[in-house]
Amino acid sequence: MSIALEHINYVYSPGTAYEKQALKDVCLEIPQGQFVGIIGHTGSGKSTLIQHLNGLTRATSGRILYEGKDIYEEGFDMRWLRSQVGLVFQYPEHQLFEVDVLSDVCFGPKNQGLSQEECEERAKEALELGGFPEKYYRQSPFELSGGQKRRVAIAGVLAMRPKVLVLDEPTAGLDPKGRDEILDQVERLHKETGMTVILVSHSMEDVARYVERIIVMNRGEKMLDGTPREVFRHYKELEKVGLAAPQVTYVMHDLKERGFDLSPDATTIEEAADEIMRSLS
């Protein structure tokens, strides 16, 4: 039960002036149930990478195995794959189109060929999972606040009951509280359903706080892959490619340089506080 990418290459508009290799020999395996963060700046290939996971973009070369099956094999059901690997795009609220919230969330299940009742049942379940208040089910999605719209859009993907949820920058444009609310919700979802969650983000602080594994993309290549502690240990290399570790990591390294006896690996506020208290006592 996993997704495996084997030597994935992807070339944009081959044979034209805009030809660009967006992914270079990417190998990855994501086991079921993992909470993974993908970081990298704009143009690093991270968005292209996640579009491969549900077959929206087809690799120029390489293989992708979903639950051991080659998704590029003749007769492989791509629409089934897309319901298994739910992909939430950046600013997903821009894809809302129905007259009310519930019908919009029903769009995915309807495309799966389910009956009206089943669709609604799943939509309600998804909205609940996404923490969307029931009193707005019949409201037009266009009248909601930004944060609420986003919840509806995420629910629209959850309603297909995916086993893997991929979120591209789910907090872009939200205020700090809205950002925390969405991420907490995603974390709860991961814990409650055991879903694999892949979170694409710019924010090191966010990623460090929630995920168990970080994949760093740079210029189309997988640059680092490991636990947050392992990855942020390479903070100097990250800086060289225009990324950075969370602020607390820097504080810890500064302290160590000033002669504190501590391990500088902390990536969250709690870890850092624990370590500082320990070294001071």
Partner: protein
């Protein structure tokens, strides 16, 4: 001399039902008094829907108050005769980089404002060159905006405002749609402008890291100004900020956490060096 001065500012708009009938009014701004001295750097914080963008739009007369008064450089924004003067005095940069670039070539976009002001051609070229240089985008002058990154587009938008030679720039969440590198680019460009051109800068944002250098910070909630002070004063009130859906930089949070655990660390730590110093003193 006050660059921006507002007294009991109120902005109301009609609430409508599905048929478009008025069913009440919403108050986006409710009795705001604000004073922004010339040449200062002011940040306005607030969650989405707190009224901060509505306030910003009053500063260049895109919106006019339904109650109270807003003066920009001594001009009443309600006075139709002053409209274009107000807009030239207070330039505005918006959130979405794509939706504010009019030209199909970078330099033509920067020239758009001066063209509207009726600036003579030679002078337009001078201004375009000067303002593109000041945001570090001169080598892209012939480029198409569609080929630029978000941060670069925002810098072009800032250049477009600078070319109108305003006394004051209002930036309405200029970094909300950018990645961290783009954010840095924009904030650096603004910093440079502040130092070189001595313009008044009003930055609307919800990224705390961007307001550390501000002279004053206003926090808005529900159309009111609920907090006002220097960044240090504001950031030392972590719990209060959180109640307004705001956050503090991670370093400030860490300092606060250590304080909570009994360490003697001053409130309102803004930078990582400050925290490291404070901890070194404890050893």
């Amino acid at each position: 001399m006050e660059m921006i001065h507002a007294e009991k500012l109120i902005y109301e708009y009609d609430k409508r039902d599905e048929e478009g009938n008025v069913i009440g009014t919403n108050r986006a701004i409710d009795g705001v008094d604000i004073d922004i001295p010339q040449g200062s750097f002011v940040a306005v914080l607030g969650h989405n829907g707190s009224g901060k963008s509505t306030l910003a739009k009053h500063m260049n007369a895109i919106l006019v108050p339904t109650g109270g008064t807003m003066w920009v450089d001594g001009r009443d924004t309600k006075d139709p005769a002053e409209l274009w003067n107000v807009r030239q005095t207070a330039g505005m940069v918006f959130q979405n980089p794509d939706n504010q670039i009019i030209g199909t070539v970078v330099e033509e976009d920067v020239g758009f404002g001066p063209e509207n002001l009726g600036v003579p051609t030679d002078e337009i070229w001078k201004r375009v060159e000067d303002s593109l240089r000041s945001v570090g985008m001169i080598e892209y002058r012939k480029a198409s905006p569609n080929k630029l990154s978000g941060g670069q587009k925002q810098r072009v938008a800032i250049a477009g405002v600078i070319a109108m030679e305003p006394k004051c720039i209002v930036l309405d969440e200029p970094t909300a749609m950018l990645d961290p590198n783009g954010r840095k680019e924009v904030i650096r460009a603004v910093e440079k402008l502040r130092k070189e051109k001595k313009v008044t800068v009003i930055l609307i944002t919800h990224y705390m890291e961007e307001v550390i250098d501000a002279d004053q910070v206003f926090v808005m909630d529900g159309g009111h100004i609920v907090m006002h002070g220097t960044p240090r004063e504001i950031f030392s009130r972590v719990e209060e900020l959180k109640s307004y859906r705001m956050d503090v930089p991670q370093v400030t949070m860490l300092a606060e956490e250590l304080r909570r655990r009994g360490l003697d660390i001053p409130r309102g730590i803004l930078r990582r060096e400050e925290l490291v110093e404070a901890l070194c003193r404890l050893r």
